[in-house]
């Protein structure tokens, strides 16, 4: 195999979308033989950079160089031809085909037989076996790929990528679905690959892996390159500081305190494979944060409280009365609202107009006996647009045409129109710009002042520290701690969320 040391560079690589700058003149260089971790928060520009390198999108300007030669990647096929291969987080093996067929997919060896070209199965299996053995992988190539565990599928995927003899191998969160010992095996494989001179770019959000696998750490924030550091000289605290930046002190209005009366009390709530024994109280007007990583059960908990996926066990009391969260309809009636994690798929009806979306939850408030009153509807829509400062040129245009921040405001507005008592926010600031984030916080604070409580789930821990009265720490389906923002620093909170993880 080719053992030259490869090199990948970007020069002033820039990607603009209408209204957003996804990647801001990033110039960085990665040499082969090392494992380069690429990290950053959601929306930092990691996936934009990966997509550019994979040829899935084209840069606004700037260039990509492989081994000193500028390459133009107009399609994923171009990238493949230039030796840049990406292994995505979602595995793409065909489950019904054998491991060997998957590895050699699209280029199965053939042989002539009675005048026609047929697949040479013996060579297929032999060649696939060679490829795997060469990488020190021991998997039966005749097994159907679908019968392998996730970790083994990942390994097969990497072997497939390596069989193209790439100069650059990009791994997008390869360990997100793996258990501890599987991760170790993967790391061994990656070290084997690095030793061959391949440029390994490793995207992750698990900071605790960095010390064990990475040689260098490249940090992106808000589309810009913050810096590249050798792992030897980077402490976790330093990396966290690079990821999150200098924390702006956006303090919530002084005197914004929760009322005394509890609104919702949750007792011993459990749901299989999601969360266990959840116990907390949220008071009227209180802003309660839930800090936890992806997969900690935080989204499942919110959905259970809203009746979207009813819990298996436990009790929920609203103002002292036990309720069963059997459906969103029921919880809506009790004044509980949810703005879901994924607003495009769960929060909005994209083909419909802003007007229709804003009224979606409150149809019974703009109708009399089921009949719409246009005047009342117009008043409601105009009030939402004004109160939430939604930038919308035409309320009749499909809501899909709005920016992320304004779409999120439409989702919030939809719920404020029912005059809720408690709003469950799942990642309310995901994918929205800084100004919209500020406005979102202001909305949450204003609600609090009016006695409307919030439960805020966010990966943006520094935002939770700014916004909330109180923060619960959730890990692997359980609440493991409770803190007040004033008593904890960002890296302490981050550590609390990570501890014992993986």
């Amino acid at each position: 195999m080719d053992s030259a040391v490869h090199r990948l560079e970007t020069v002033s690589l820039r990607k603009e979308y209408p209204g957003t700058l996804a990647l801001d003149d990033v110039s960085v260089s990665f040499t082969g033989g090392k494992i380069h971790a690429l990290i950053g928060k959601n929306g930092a520009g990691k996936s934009t950079l990966v997509k550019l390198l994979a040829g899935a999108i084209q840069p606004t300007r700037g260039s990509i160089l492989v081994n000193g030669e500028e390459v133009r990647l107009r399609s994923p096929r171009d990238a493949l031809r230039r030796g840049i291969i990406t292994v995505h987080q979602e595995l793409s093996l065909v489950p019904e085909l054998s491991v060997a067929e998957n590895v050699l997919l699209g280029r199965l060896p053939r042989k002539p037989w009675l005048g026609v070209s047929i697949i040479d199965w013996r060579t297929v299996f032999d060649r696939a076996k060679d490829i795997l053995t060469n990488l020190g992988i021991d998997i039966d190539v005749r097994l159907k790929a679908g019968r392998l565990g996730v970790a083994q599928q990942q390994v097969v995927e990497i072997a497939k990528a390596m069989s193209y003899n790439p100069s650059v191998l990009i791994l997008d969160e390869p360990t997100s679905a793996l258990a501890q010992h599987e991760t170790e095996r993967l790391f061994e494989l990656l070290r084997t690959l690095a030793a061959r001179g391949v440029v390994l770019l490793y995207i992750t959000h698990r900071l605790q892996e960095l010390q064990r696998i990475a040689d260098t750490v490249t940090v992106l924030r808000n589309g810009s390159l913050v810096g590249v550091v050798d792992i030897a000289e980077a402490s976790t605290a330093r990396i966290v500081q690079m990821m999150f930046g200098e924390i702006l002190q956006r303090t919530k209005p002084a005197g914004l305190v929760a009322r005394e009366e509890p609104f919702m009390e949750v007792r011993k709530l459990s749901k299989r494979n999601a969360f266990r024994n959840i116990h907390f109280t949220v008071r009227r007007g209180e802003i309660l944060g839930i800090a936890g990583l992806l997969g900690s059960g935080r989204t499942e908990l919110l959905r259970a409280l809203f009746g979207a996926d009813p819990p298996d066990e436990g009790e929920i009391l609203i103002e002292g009365t036990a309720v069963r969260p059997s459906s969103p309809m029921e919880m809506k009636r009790l004044g509980v609202a949810l703005t879901p994690e994924n607003r495009k798929e769960q929060g909005l009806v994209l083909p419909l107009s802003t007007r229709l979306n804003v009224c979606l939850s409150s149809l019974d408030r703009i109708t009399t006996g089921g009949f719409l009153t246009r005047a009342r509807e117009r008043a409601v829509v105009e009030k939402s647009i004004r109160d939430l400062d939604i930038a919308v040129a035409n309320a009749e245009a499909p809501v899909a045409s709005l920016s992320g921040g304004n779409q999120q405001k439409v989702v919030v507005g939809k719920w404020l129109n029912i005059e809720p008592r408690l709003v469950l926010f799942d990642e309310p600031t995901r994918g929205i710009d800084l100004q919209a984030k500020q406005q979102m916080f202001q909305i949450i604070w204003d609600m609090s002042a009016r006695g409307i409580g919030s439960i805020v789930v966010s990966s943006e821990l520094e935002e939770l520290l700014d916004v909330c009265h109180r923060i619960l720490i959730m890990r692997q389906g359980e609440i493991v701690g409770e803190v007040r923002p004033s008593d904890i620093s960002l890296d302490q909170l981050f550590a609390a969320c990570m501890e014992e993880q993986a």
Binding site: A308, M331, K332, E345, Q346, L350, L363, R374
Partner: protein, 326 residues
């Protein structure tokens, strides 16, 4: 190509209406007798029975479902009305026809509604796609119609019964009046009620609708129930026109009806569509049939032209959508 943006938006928004008008102008010059009140009312009357169902089908498709059983439901409803009338007016019960027929009509409409609700329950309770349930009903209802008629047309109807499907009121064909009434009702329902809003939301994104506290299952049941009810209504009109309950009528109607809905701009993906668009689609198909008959074009060509129209209409719709997204 086109100078004024206003003209352009008119062209893209109302392109089908414009083509229809141009086509009518063409016909009024080339086809003798096209542009007469009598002929135009005839067009309305010809489209009325498929038309009433098409409005319901529009709701079904907007909500993200489909109903393939409407053709069979028409035949079944006609036969059921005849069967109940015959039974009630027969020796056992001996009811007079003017009592038996209203009972038969009400019973048939009720049965129709429950057949559609059944499809809805299969969809919402057991996750059986409406495509499958209504495919089964298509065969099942057709068989049931044969069963209750023993394969022969039932003819228990007195001559006045012909009024529903063949009569005139104020000089307008009565079935055409029913057609217009159903249009007006569903137009109102879809645009001026919370139910209509829910239908669009459910079809556009069922999960978002559910998480907005909308009763998605109820909406689906009601939409499918209403459409099957309209199919039963159409079956009653049909039985009145031909003065019998005949199991072999209305074969293949479901496809004509779905074609009209699609021509009218409703998306099979759900969430997008208009009752008014379906009105245009239904009338367009009626005018083509009528005009080509007047021009002595063979029936075979009529089918070819209808096929072409479906494709062209969908293409126009997609182009228009592509433009508005850019």
């Amino acid at each position: 190509m086109i100078a004024s943006p206003k003209l352009r938006s008119l062209l893209s928004e109302g392109i089908l209406e414009i083509i229809l008008v141009l086509f009518c102008i063409f016909l009024s010059f080339s086809a003798p007798g096209f542009l007469t009140a009598g002929n135009l009312l005839n067009v309305l009357r010809n489209v009325s029975m498929q038309g009433v169902i098409a409005f319901g089908m529009t709701m079904v498709i907007i909500s993200g479902e489909i109903d393939l059983s409407v053709g069979s439901a028409v035949a079944f409803a006609g036969c059921l009305t005849a069967f109940i009338t015959q039974t009630l007016a027969g020796d056992t019960f001996g009811l007079p026809l003017h009592v038996a027929i209203p009972i038969a009509i009400c019973a048939t409409l009720t049965v129709g509604f429950f057949v559609g609700t059944f499809t809805g329950i299969m969809r919402t309770k057991f996750q059986v796609p409406s495509f499958i349930t209504t495919l089964a009903l298509m065969t099942g209802l057709s068989g049931a119609a044969e069963l209750i008629t023993n394969g022969f047309p039932l003819t228990p109807f007195p001559s006045w019964y012909n009024f529903i499907g063949g009569g005139y009121l104020f000089g307008i064909p009565f079935p055409a009046l029913i057609f217009l009434l159903v249009f007006a009702t569903l137009q109102f329902l879809m645009n001026y009620t919370s139910f209509g809003r829910s239908v669009y939301a459910v079809g556009g994104n069922a999960e978002a609708a559910r998480l907005s506290g909308i009763d998605v299952n109820r909406v689906k049941r009601l939409v499918l129930g209403t459409t099957a009810l309209l199919a039963a209504l159409s079956g009653i009109m049909q039985s009145s026109e031909i003065m019998s309950g005949t199991a072999t009528t209305a074969k293949g109607w479901e496809l004509d009806i779905i074609a009209a809905v699609i021509i009218g701009g409703t998306s099979l993906m759900g969430g997008v569509g208009r009752i008014w668009g379906t009105m245009i689609g239904v009338v367009f198909l009626g005018v083509i049939m009528n005009g080509m008959t007047l021009l002595n074009v063979s029936e075979y060509w009529q089918h070819v032209v209808r096929g072409a129209l479906i494709l062209v209409a969908v293409l126009l719709n997609l182009l228009q959508k592509g433009k508005s997204q850019r």
